[in-house]
Symmetry: C2
């Protein structure tokens, strides 16, 4: 793909492949620069498009990063639903949102693929790490109080990831047969405990 | 490898490859028959050795199964240490035992490989499932009281697996930097909560 330097100042308007080209440029930038070091401007430059077109297709950097992960998780929606819940109900909301995503096989497949990749490819592990450290943790942190917020939040997420693996990858009974409601009842208080730091 | 029928009634004494041949026979039997349906006698017959030799090398079926998993977890030791702890301290014991295994890179590698395999190979997922359902859960179940013991135990194990993945595969901070003691303090009460069913 030509760089802006070789293309000159002219920038292409959006075409049928523009979305895919922006995604490819974004994946390359995130891999080279990390999440924090990547700008929409640099991604646009690499894709040879106007930054406004990147915003048009993907909204903010956070959404673009999630699109690069190719997982059907909308961190904006997660954060909005957590923020809308009463503080004492956020554990249950988090468990329900997460389990509903995993309950859909079509949504589950790319997440399992990402976990599998993370066990073999340092780049895939780095992408997941950045997603946790630089996207989810800072977004949820302001809702929480007390010491060790980041650690507690990651322990809550760990609980959910472990359940997803034992339930959907390993398929162990009875966890694989439990309903989402049962798990919200059983695991919600644990996640709430982590969020509260109590 | 010749079957006992083609070898006749003579059985070989233990030789340099006997241990490996028993393991190969055991893996084949566990895959074909499942954990519950596999007997030491059938494994010995497939390997063309006396059942006493299987016991000599591997002890019980549970130990042989764990040897087939190729992970450095001794379920007998886990169970003995849990049984020796006061009921109120078993959550902390479980967290410490599990995290210490994962803290050793040489021990971690085969477990990560098994999780990776489980995301792609139904047979590997079945082996992990059998290990959870038919080895660990029945062994720990008698120590616990109340309703939903199996589900609670699997939720506790899920918490530990999720921590291991976020800590050692994804490497997210601050969970990756937390000490074992910190995590025993933070996660021990959660695992205890699952064990108690309180």
């Amino acid at each position: 793909m030509p760089t802006p330097a070789t293309r000159g100042p002219g920038r292409r308007p959006g075409g049928p492949d523009t979305r895919g080209e922006i995604l490819a440029a974004a994946r390359a930038e995130f891999a080279e620069q990390s999440y924090a070091g990547t700008t929409i401007r640099a991604i646009a430059a690499r894709a040879g498009v106007d930054p406004a077109l990147v915003h048009h297709y993907f909204g903010t950097k956070r959404y673009l990063f999630t699109a690069c992960l190719d997982i059907p998780l909308d961190p904006g929606e997660v954060i909005a639903r957590l923020a809308a819940a009463p503080a004492s109900g956020r554990g249950a909301v988090m468990v329900r949102l997460f389990l509903e995503v995993w309950s859909d096989a079509a949504w589950r497949a790319p997440i399992v693929a990402l976990i599998r990749s993370a066990t073999t490819e340092p780049e895939a592990a780095a992408v997941l790490r950045q997603f946790l450290e630089e996207v989810m943790t800072p977004a949820v942190r302001p809702m929480l109080d007390g010491d060790g917020v980041d650690l507690r939040l990651q322990l809550a997420i760990s609980q959910l990831i472990g359940i997803a693996i034992v339930r959907h990858v390993v398929g162990a009974s009875p966890l694989a047969q439990a309903t989402v409601d049962e798990l919200v009842d059983t695991v919600g208080p644990v996640v709430q405990h982590y969020l509260d730091g109590s």
